[in-house]
């Protein structure tokens, strides 16, 4: 009997150990090695062999130099910060509005019927295409960027939240009926927490889109930010500078996305248990 118990415990334990050490397991090492190999081939084989002009494709080392200069000369970090600011404010505003509007739409059919034509119409508009309009209306500064980011973040969060709030199973509804729960109690104790994993999925999509939104808005009209930095570098045929800008954007997007996923896993902890 004791044997059986310890046998049953063992697999769970090794599984946890593997997860803890997963930061440095063999696959990770292999992935890092392959990435270094990729950079080396690019640097020492691809560029010399093809003789591509640095104006078309810079070497990794030139991108590194460009990054270093940008940091030292003090324009890369402030511009990164500005884009990050646009993304964060826009993302928070857009997802807050998306969530806030999803609640009445999911709870009351009448609200849905009144609002859904506008939502569908607004959703059909390619948000990127109306970016110039926002710059005309709200200027070259922060507000036009925040609005575009907000608008682009709004939809995935809104749509996922509506779907999540409606994902209550029939028996769950009956459970709350048997207790004569009020509408508010049902929302507070069932519908809202039940929508958690959907909302997090919406935020995940929204956060990636929000970086795209900010850069496009800066392309259209801005004096600062990574988007405008990339445009200027492009005009100057400073391809390494373009790559440096893109790299910073990628890092922003990756960190934000990882943060949202981490927070999501913490908040909607039960969904992870189910997936495993």
């Amino acid at each position: 009997m004791t044997d059986q118990v310890s046998m049953a415990m063992r697999p769970a334990k090794t599984k946890r150990n593997r997860r803890l050490s997963s930061g440095f397991d063999r696959v990770t090492m292999l992935a890092i090695a392959l990435f270094i190999l990729f950079l080396a081939v690019w640097e020492w084989i691809l560029i010399p062999a093809t003789g591509v002009s640095p104006a078309l494709l810079p070497r990794p080392s030139q991108i590194a130099v460009s990054l270093y200069q940008g940091a030292v000369q003090g324009y890369l970090l402030p511009n990164t910060f500005i884009t990050l600011q646009e993304v964060l404010i826009g993302f928070v505003v857009g997802s807050a509005l998306g969530f806030a509007l999803a609640v009445p739409v999911a709870e009351w059919r009448a609200v849905e019927r009144i609002l859904s034509p506008y939502v569908v119409a607004l959703q059909a508009i390619p948000k990127v295409a109306i970016a110039p309009l926002f710059v005309v209306w709200f200027g070259y500064g922060l507000s036009s960027k925040v609005l575009i980011v907000g608008l682009i973040t709004f939809f995935p969060v809104f749509i996922n939240t509506v779907a999540g709030l409606r994902s209550v199973a029939h028996e769950q509804r009956e459970l709350f009926m048997i207790y004569n729960a009020t509408r508010w109690q049902r929302f507070r104790y069932l519908t809202l927490p039940n929508s958690g994993s959907f909302v997090v999925a919406g935020l995940n999509v929204g956060v990636t889109l929000s970086v795209i939104g900010a850069v496009v808005a800066e392309f259209v009209g801005a004096q600062e930010g990574l988007g405008s930095l990339i445009v200027r570098a492009g005009f100057a045929m400073d391809t390494a500078g373009v790559f440096a800008g893109v790299l910073c954007l990628t890092v922003i997007a990756a960190i934000l996305s990882a943060t949202v996923q981490l927070l999501g896993r913490k908040i909607v902890f039960w969904a992870n248990d189910l997936r495993r």
Binding site: A169, E171, Q172, E174, L175, F176, M177, I178, Y179, N180, A181, Q185, Y189, L190, P193, N194, G196, V268, F269, W270, A271, D273, L274
Partner: protein, 264 residues
């Protein structure tokens, strides 16, 4: 004919109850036709029948979850119009809220204003101990087996001290061994209290094992064909399933189902 005992103590009473639904295609389906049934207080009643016989519908009518088309549904002498505090319910799936711990799930009724939190915690802890889940209070449903989850669901249904426990095929999704265990546990829970239990099942042996009275239903339309008093001594044990008496009840009921199958 369908009266279990003709007495003043009829606690749940259905008189000529009919329930019809309109399907998506617009057809009218009669789930229950002219059902009359009297259930005395404190009895363990099983509703047994093939799928489509309206046994779950009958349960939901008693619970006030759905409205009858015609007839009377009375609980403690009062017409049932909506769910009341007198009723607790266990579903086929545990329907636990995965973001709440075992104890938090069991005390859901307190959050919904049925009783004080302190009272709920005390009662829930007692039931959790009775069903053998002591030490699991802080675990989440995802960490429990199906049988353990259903035990929590039973605790939850009992916490606000309802006089009627409605159970809709609660053990149907469990494996045979867990099911046997839970039947025995449910019997002792019921024997320790004064609750009236209405238990829906499509397992004949489960129905016989648990019942004071077994209500046999037939399908299309759902109707009561017989009410059988099960005169086996309590507490019943798993060994009794092999006794001739037990087998007698089982084969008697099976006769109905086989007749129905031949007719269909």
């Amino acid at each position: 004919m369908n009266s279990i005992e003709n007495g003043v103590s009829d606690f749940i009473s259905l008189r000529h109850v009919t329930k019809s639904f309109e399907t998506m295609s617009g057809d009218i389906v009669t789930a229950l036709r002219d059902v009359s049934l009297q259930i005395p207080k404190g009895a363990f009643v099983t509703l047994l029948g093939p799928s489509g016989c309206g046994k779950s519908t009958l349960l939901r009518l008693i619970g006030g979850l759905i409205e009858k088309t015609s007839g009377d549904v009375l609980l403690g002498g009062k017409a049932v119009e909506k769910p009341t505090n007198q009723v607790g319910m266990v579903f086929q799936s545990p329907v636990l809220l995965p973001w709440r711990t075992v104890l938090e799930n069991a005390t859901l009724a307190a959050d919904l204003g049925k009783l004080s939190r302190a009272e709920a915690r005390e009662t829930a802890s007692r039931y959790i101990r009775l069903v053998g889940l002591e030490g699991f209070e802080r675990k989440y449903p995802g960490e429990l087996s199906g049988g353990m989850q259903q035990r929590v669901a039973i605790c939850r249904a009992l916490v606000h001290n309802p006089s009627v426990l409605l159970m809709d095929e609660p053990f149907a999704a469990l494996d045979a061994m867990t099911r046997d265990h839970l039947q025995v546990e449910l019997q002792s829970l019921w024997m320790a209290g004064d609750k009236t239990v209405v238990f829906v099942t499509h397992s004949i042996s489960e129905a016989v094992f648990l019942a004071d009275y077994m209500v046999v239903l037939a399908a299309r339309p759902g109707r009561v064909v017989e009410v059988i008093k099960v005169d086996l001594p309590r507490p019943r044990t798993l060994d009794m399933v092999n006794s001739a008496e037990f087998g007698g009840y089982v084969s008697h009921v099976r006769g109905y189902f086989e007749a129905e199958e031949r007719a269909a």
